[in-house]
């Protein structure tokens, strides 16, 4: 059976009325859940899992997948409007998205994010349809050594996203890395920096850290800024992206789709790296990189597109190899097991209806999301007209509940509060939480992979050269550094005595 026949089969499954209904239910729940800060797809799918046990297997997976990619759309909304990123991949969006909101361009940001997400998602599904088996092998080629290289690359990108100086970004990245070491050691299981706390054994929860530093920090900050009950004194300008906006973002969307699709295949960190890479790429390409961090539309369009493309391509290792690449996909994996189906190499052959049905439903779901989200942009922008005091009070309450629901643990509420205080203080002292949060995600993967590599190689660093994927990525990093150093030299020769621009501070000095 060739791919097009299979796809036809898939659409015949996806167009069954029940399945159509559940795609819709899935994407609606996903959007709604994404909008409630803290209550991400993980918590929702975990809560809905028992219900799906009574449903038909294909229908239930179609719905769960819908919740997952739907929540990627929804997650953007709080990142942009309230600076509340609910998952790692939206952290990058929050940086320029929230600045756009402050300038009254929330509608533009949300609009371009919806369009970018649709394009990124669709490109990725097309890739999933035609390239899945080939790309699955790419995921397998990435061993511990290659992950070390990938995470080093990620950290380079992290230090370039900050708005302050490189030294400050580096310092915050260091803090994020240090905070991520709290908990059980990944290799020998001993506890580190837990100070006898049972709750800290598994470390700080990412969502609690991100929402604390960004959202709660910002909400606390707004307490001292605004007079009682005053609305954010920003006029909401145009709701829709203008022709100029579209033109400015089209390149970012195109590049984000491709980056997101390929990097998203990698289990562990794929989603974050793809949005980071897209942001860094857009900043590099921009004629005026200083706009980034101050509301550059490409800074929303690129990462948001990449983020959605990667959430779709993350299904490739799951459906082709039976390897769930993140927590949400592990839940979907569990749902499949419960229905007596084992995702793995035989899935396509044994369950063509399921496999192609899910893929076809994604085309439909993405289209539904676009249709659903475009009018919703207008609705959500109206939210900004609600008086600040009311918005803050409810946002805080929902953040608290949302964070509790991640692990059903009040401990995480203390974590979000603690990081909220830290975020507020960082805001006051001119430090940027972005590098901290992103380094927090990448650090544990880097450490674990490095130590695994050393165990495998018996302590020889040669593994980073002999492993083809690692060598490739390290080579790319080296070229990048070389390019940057030479570029700076040339610039310096042209302009005499520059006033220490943030870009030119050498990382290794």
């Amino acid at each position: 059976m060739d791919t097009l026949d299979s796809l036809t089969l898939g659409f015949s499954v996806a167009f069954e009325p029940t399945n159509l209904l559940f795609v819709l239910i899935g994407v609606v729940i996903g959007t709604a859940i994404g909008v409630l800060p803290g209550l991400g797809p993980t918590a929702t799918i975990a809560l809905l899992l028992p219900i799906t046990y009574t449903m038909d297997a294909t229908t239930s997976i179609i719905m769960l997948a819908g919740i997952y990619y739907g929540s990627m759309y929804g997650g953007t909304i709080t990142s942009v409007l309230l600076r509340l990123p609910g998952e790692a991949a939206s952290v990058v969006t929050a940086i320029d998205g929230y600045q756009m909101t402050k300038q009254g361009r929330a509608g533009t940001a949300l609009g371009i994010a919806a369009i970018g997400s649709f394009i990124g998602g669709t490109v990725s599904i097309i890739g999933l349809t035609f390239l899945a088996p080939m790309l699955a092998n790419v995921a397998l080629a990435m061993g511990p050594a290659a992950y070390v290289a990938l995470m080093v690359l990620g950290l380079f990108l992290v230090t370039s996203i900050g708005t302050g100086s490189t030294i400050k970004s580096l310092c915050m990245a260091g803090l994020g890395l240090a905070l991520s070491t709290v908990g059980q050691d990944p290799i020998d299981g001993s506890s580190r920096f837990t100070f006898g706390s049972v709750g800290l054994l598994s470390g700080f929860d990412f969502v609690a850290v991100a929402m604390g530093l960004f959202g709660v920090g910002e909400l606390l900050h707004s307490l001292e800024k605004s007079e009682h009950g005053q609305a954010i004194k920003v006029k909401i300008k145009n709701i829709w992206p203008s022709r100029k906006d579209m033109k400015e973002s089209s390149g970012a969307i195109a590049r984000g789709s491709v980056l997101g699709f390929f990097i998203g295949v990698l289990p562990g960190g794929g989603g974050v790296i793809s949005s980071l890479a897209s942001y860094a790429m857009e900043k590099k390409r921009a004629k005026d990189p200083s706009r980034f961090g101050k509301g550059a539309i490409e800074g929303v369009a690129g990462p948001e597109t990449a983020n959605n493309a990667s959430s779709t391509s993350a299904f490739i290792p799951l459906l082709v190899l039976g390897i769930p690449s993140n927590v949400v996909l592990a839940l979907i994996f569990g749902a499949l097991l419960m229905h007596g189906m084992t995702p793995g190499p035989q899935l396509i052959a044994e369950q063509p209806n399921l496999f192609w049905g899910i893929i076809a439903s994604m085309y439909i779901g993405n289209l539904m999301l676009l249709v659903l989200n475009i009018p919703l942009v207008g609705v959500f922008v109206q939210m900004l007209r609600v008086r600040t005091g009311i918005l803050i009070a409810f946002a805080l309450l929902i953040v608290m509940i949302g964070v509790f629901s991640i692990n059903n643990s009040p401990f995480d509420m203390w974590v979000v509060l603690g990081f909220g205080v830290l975020g507020w203080l960082m805001n006051k002292t001119g430090f940027d939480p972005g590098p901290l949060v992103l380094a927090f995600v990448l650090g544990p993967i880097l450490e674990k992979s490095f130590r695994q590599s050393m165990l495998i190689s018996g302590g020889s660093l040669e593994i980073f050269v002999t492993d083809p994927a690692a060598a490739l990525i390290f080579g790319a990093i080296a070229l990048g550094i070389l390019y940057k150093v030479l570029g700076t030299r040339l610039k310096r020769r042209k302009k005499t005595a520059p006033v220490i621009p943030a870009e030119s501070v050498d990382i290794d000095s």
């Binding site: 028992p50 054994l201 979907i332 035989q346 165990l455």
Partner: protein, 330 residues
């Protein structure tokens, strides 16, 4: 601090306000004691604690069992996933719950036996009452399809001759598989380069990608799919009996590695001091559920033991783990 405040406040709140809900049906006034037991159990919602996140095999087991117990015993068993603190938070909550049968929980080798050994935790195995065994996940040694090792002997012999050069992945540093492998290495003078990962998915990726030489892994459905596909070549089963699925696969003990076996045992536990009557009720409830076809289908036929291990036998299995692992965790 948190917990003290919680318990004092909770006790008084419970006595003053929730007496009606808690005890109206059992007709006993002393909410704080364990005597609130009679034929009426379970009269209200039973909290079924789960020390792992949703979605894994332990979650599937918990949910299938909770549903079956609700039907069989009456009452509602509600699964509550609490994976924070590597499961320690859920275990601590279970240990400090009132022994009235309204808080029970799944536990396995890791949270019950190994975590308290690796970390200073406010609970130990003695703070729990075993009720019965719900499921057992066997373990196996496997290599990739292009591996030069065709059987377990050649793999172990190679590791003996070239110590530390053959990499062997295990699911986690504090998993029973990692500890058991340590025991094997000590007892039989074998040395692998042991590579802990963050779970089965990562192990499978690394073996299929050829990044590690062999794995010691929980033989669950995900592994079975790769064995069937040919990506995984099983070398030895590490349970006490041969696997029903791989009848030709020798066990480690058959291969001469005396005393080497490990299974992930999913036991049901309550807090210490759980009254016998409630233990008996729950015990017979699980026994019936392990014979229920729907439950067996959900958990997987291979993972529900044919002969039921009751409270006493389950307690013995975990006590045995304790004595086996204690000298190995330093």
């Amino acid at each position: 601090m948190r917990f003290n405040l919680k318990s004092t406040f909770f006790t008084s709140a419970a006595v003053i306000l929730s007496v009606g809900v808690a005890v109206s049906l059992t007709g006993c006034g002393a909410a704080g004691t364990a005597e609130a037991v009679d034929a009426g159990y379970p009269a209200k919602t039973v909290k079924f604690l789960m020390p792992y996140a949703a979605g894994g095999p332990s979650d599937v087991t918990s949910r299938a069992m909770a549903q079956c117990l609700s039907q069989g015993l009456g009452g509602t068993f509600v699964v509550e996933n609490q994976s924070s603190g590597a499961g320690a938070v859920a275990m601590q909550q279970l240990a400090s719950a009132k022994p009235d049968g309204y808080t029970v929980g799944l536990s396995t080798n890791g949270p019950m036996v190994l975590n308290p050994m690796f970390n200073e935790l406010p609970y130990s195995m003695d703070d729990f009452t075993a009720i019965g065994t719900m499921a057992k996940i066997p373990t196996m040694f496997a290599v990739g399809k292009d591996s030069p090792f065709k059987d377990a002997e050649s793999l172990f012999q190679a590791a003996q001759e070239n110590p530390g050069t053959i990499s062997m992945g295990v699911p986690g540093a504090t998993s029973s598989l990692a500890i058991e492998l340590k025991k094997l290495q000590q007892d039989f003078d074998i040395e692998f380069a042991v590579v802990p990962t963050s779970g089965s998915a990562e192990l499978i990726t690394n073996l299929l990608g050829g990044h590690i030489d062999a794995v010691f892994i929980n033989d669950h459905k995900d592994v079975a799919a790769h064995v069937k596909d040919g990506g995984f070549v099983p070398l030895a089963a590490a349970s006490q009996e041969r696997s029903k699925t791989y009848a030709d696969l020798p066990t480690m003990e058959e291969l001469g590695y005396e005393g080497f076996f490990t299974d992930s045992v999913y036991g049901l536990f309550g807090p210490k001091g759980l009254p016998d009557a409630i233990v008996a009720t729950l015990e017979s409830g699980i026994e019936a559920c392990t014979q229920d076809q729907e439950v067996i289908d959900q958990i997987g036929e291979r993972f529900v033991p044919d002969t039921f291990s009751n409270a006493e036998e389950t307690a013995a299995v975990f006590a045995d783990m304790q004595t086996r692992y204690e000298p190995l965790v330093g």
